[in-house]
Amino acid sequence: MTSEPLPVLLPPVETAPQSLRPKLHLQGVTKTFGSRQVLDGVDIAVAPGRSLVIIGASGQGKSVTLKIAVGLMRPDQGRVLVDGEDVTGMEAADRARRSPRFGMLFQGAALFDSLKVWENVAFRLVIADKVPKREAKDRAIEALGRVGLSPEFAALYPGELSGGMQKRVGLARAVVTHPDILFFDEPTTGLDPITSDVINNLIIEEVKRLGCTAISITHDMTSARKIGDEIAMLHGGHIVWRGDAKTIDQAENAYVRQFINGVAQGPITGDAGPVRGDVVRPRAAGAR
């Protein structure tokens, strides 16, 4: 099995011109829960304006990686760099307050039950950015329109919406502040194939419109192929493969082959222990 080279070549973070710096860079990130090492030196860099999808089997640390990238969890070791700035010790609320802005679509949408749909979408505008309520409501309704929800939905509560509609509202909330980095946590999980495709299209549209960097985690290969410029596979605490989304079906990596073919036989056994060898380490490999 061979590690395949990364399609995006980036110089070392410290010396890179600003335009070539990775927008987001996780360097040597490790995370252990009790006796179980979930991440064992993860290195991932995402270039500005690119969409990276991290795939992997359940329990392999995709969500932990995303939470560390966003700031909802701190790594045991390693660094998180945003535009070259070390934000490892900064909490998510503080990171979100600074530039570059980020938005996140949660797996279950994570809408606030006690607030109306438009209040959910306008939440950050009103609470954190101090935008006047009327203007925030207009912007929220406009954002809802972009994700295919008419103004009548604005006055409903999240509990009155279907799962797909809740995802749309979550997406509208994530993009309403024009973020520079968007995070998607299993954006199509629990949705039927048609609704999944609608959500995928909306994600592509919004990422393109905003020109932002996107990092998604999913185990839905249809979604990964569609929304990602690049795909990285996480297994046993490492990135074991990374390449262009268009080339994943030609990948020779045994983990990738087993995962995309969805077969039980192969190196992925359901054991989440660390993997030795076959690790894509971008900086060490001189790939960026």
């Binding site: 939470k67 966003v70 700031g71 909802l72 909490e91 998510a92 609320a93 979100a96 307050r97 980020f102 938005g103 996140m104 949660f106 797996q107 279950g108 994570a110 809408l111 606030f112 039950d113 939440f123 950050r124 609470i127 954190a128 950015d129 909330r173 995070f183």
Partner: protein, 255 residues
């Protein structure tokens, strides 16, 4: 040897938990005094914790006052001291039973509700979502609940005091042949500002404890629906125990 190890482990767990609660409380209090403030959240919590608890606190107080009057009348009768019953009822209600019973009702009703609500927010990633929306969850979810409980429990206690004394008056005049006007005059002339104030100070502390336990157990709930259920139970039990423990400490200090 195993017993010693078990005791040691339990002690360490207790110390660790106490430290975690103290840090959580410190962050919650700091958040309550630093902007941004969320007045709408505070209003909503004050309504939920204070106003909607009025019926249960009132009912508890009226029956407790009435039962207390009967018991003191019976006990006082053994040494011909039935006539001091109004004063003892007033003292017992304002210094002890009003604040403690109101706090226990809140522990059962509000602490559980807070733990369930915040636990559900944790389970559905709403707490994480707050952070990604640039809002400190301590300021938005914890501080308003702590503040609302500290402000509203003393008010509930005033209501409990009045209704509890009224319960004693009702049973005394209706069944024990007390003169209503004399009962009120004796109660009023006997009570001091200190009696009422000590109860109100206690109730403010109880309010903090009740809300803190609900917030703490809800905030750190894990394991889905089962975890939320466990958090709710732990919130109620720990709030009740801490109310009794702090009641003893404060009674010692305020007597």
């Amino acid at each position: 040897m195993n017993a010693v190890r078990a005791i040691g482990r339990s002690t360490l767990d207790l110390v660790r938990s106490a430290g975690a609660v103290a840090i959580f409380a410190g962050r919650g209090v700091a958040a309550a005094f630093s902007p941004p403030f969320f007045p709408n959240q505070l209003r909503r919590q004050a309504w939920m914790i204070g106003y909607t608890s009025l019926p249960v606190v009132g009912l508890t107080a009226v029956f407790t006052g009435a039962a207390l009057a009967l018991n003191i009348y019976t006990g006082g009768g053994r040494f011909n001291a039935e006539q001091i019953m109004p004063q003892i009822v007033a003292l017992g209600i304002t210094r002890e039973l009003g604040p403690v019973l109101a706090a226990l009702m809140l522990a059962g009703r509000v602490s559980a509700a807070i733990a369930a609500e915040i636990g559900a927010m944790r389970a559905t990633e709403q707490i994480d979502a707050l952070q990604t929306l640039s809002v400190d969850p301590y300021r938005y979810t914890i501080a308003p609940r702590l503040t609302a409980a500290v402000l509203t429990l003393p008010l509930l206690t005033v209501v409990a005091d009045i209704i509890g004394i009224a319960g004693g008056w009702l049973v005394s005049t209706a069944t024990l042949s007390f003169n209503g006007q004399v009962y009120v005059r004796n109660t009023w002339s006997f009570l001091t500002t200190g009696d009422v104030a000590s109860g109100l100070i206690k109730s403010a502390v109880f309010g903090f404890i009740v809300a803190l336990m609900g917030c703490y157990h809800g905030f750190f709930a894990s394991g889905g629906a089962r975890g939320v259920g466990r958090a709710t139970t732990n919130a109620v039990v720990s709030a009740a125990i801490l109310v009794f423990a702090s009641d003893y400490v404060m009674t010692s200090l305020l007597r």
